[in-house]
């Protein structure tokens, strides 16, 4: 079975600082994809970043980057220069051959002014 674990239910960071959200996963498949989604209070789930497991290079999207450690099955999200608008729930998710997303329980991030 595929599982995704987020061990940090809540985190906070000061505006302009850097924060790292943790995610570990388990899968027996060789080809899979990892995602970080953001869900603000509006409830809209927004894709932040995705990583193909066969790519060794860590994905980067502007202020968001990941540290993908395939052997350790770890996929952390780093948010640089945190902004107030980054306040949201962040979900780590995994998609294997069947393409359905398996989700972690989320990390609630608060960015403080």
């Amino acid at each position: 079975a595929q599982t995704v674990t987020q061990s940090q239910p809540e985190m906070s960071v000061q505006e302009a600082e850097t924060v790292t959200l943790s995610c570990t996963y388990d899968t027996s498949e060789n080809n899979y994809y990892l995602f970080w989604y953001k869900q603000p209070p509006s409830r809209q789930m927004i894709l932040v970043i995705r990583q193909e497991a066969y790519k060794q290079q860590n994905a980067t999207e502007n202020r968001f980057s990941v540290n993908f450690q395939k052997a350790a099955k770890s996929f952390s999200l780093k948010i640089s220069d945190s902004q107030l608008g980054d306040t949201a729930m962040y979900f780590c998710a995994l998609a294997g051959n069947n393409r359905k997303l398996i989700w972690g329980l989320g990390t609630s991030l608060a960015v403080n002014p």
Binding site: Y37, S42, R43, Q44, L47, F91, R99, I102, G106
Partner: protein
């Protein structure tokens, strides 16, 4: 272009009634997914469509749940004889194909069963 839309935004119903939740995917997206987000269970997969067919219904929690998709576009999730444990946010997502692996989500329907 327009994103994924869902209706209604909120639905309050009485236990035992049937409800229909609607999802309009992004135009041209062939893959469509339904997920449920509840306080106790987090996010869970319900069903997905490739075109109008549903190859994987394994996530539907009971036979009270069904879904269909017509014309390769709009999808309806139906819950019959609703129970209080069905209260949750129902999220729909679409993807260009099954292989692009980039799901775009709608705003969800919050269902409350009294």
């Amino acid at each position: 272009g327009a994103g994924v839309s869902q209706s209604p935004s909120n639905k309050v119903t009485e236990k035992g009634k049937d409800v229909e939740l609607r999802c309009d995917p992004i135009s041209g997206h062939t893959a469509l997914y339904w997920y449920r987000q509840s306080l106790g269970q987090g996010l869970e997969f319900l069903i997905y469509f490739q075109g109008n067919s549903a190859p994987d219904k394994s996530g539907l929690p009971s036979d009270r749940f069904s879904a269909e998709r017509t014309g390769g576009s709009v999808s309806t999730l139906t819950i019959q004889r609703t129970q209080q444990e069905d209260s949750a946010v129902y999220l729909c997502a679409s993807d260009r194909t099954l292989d692009t692996i980039e799901q775009f989500f709608g705003p969800g329907t919050r269902l409350t069963v009294l």
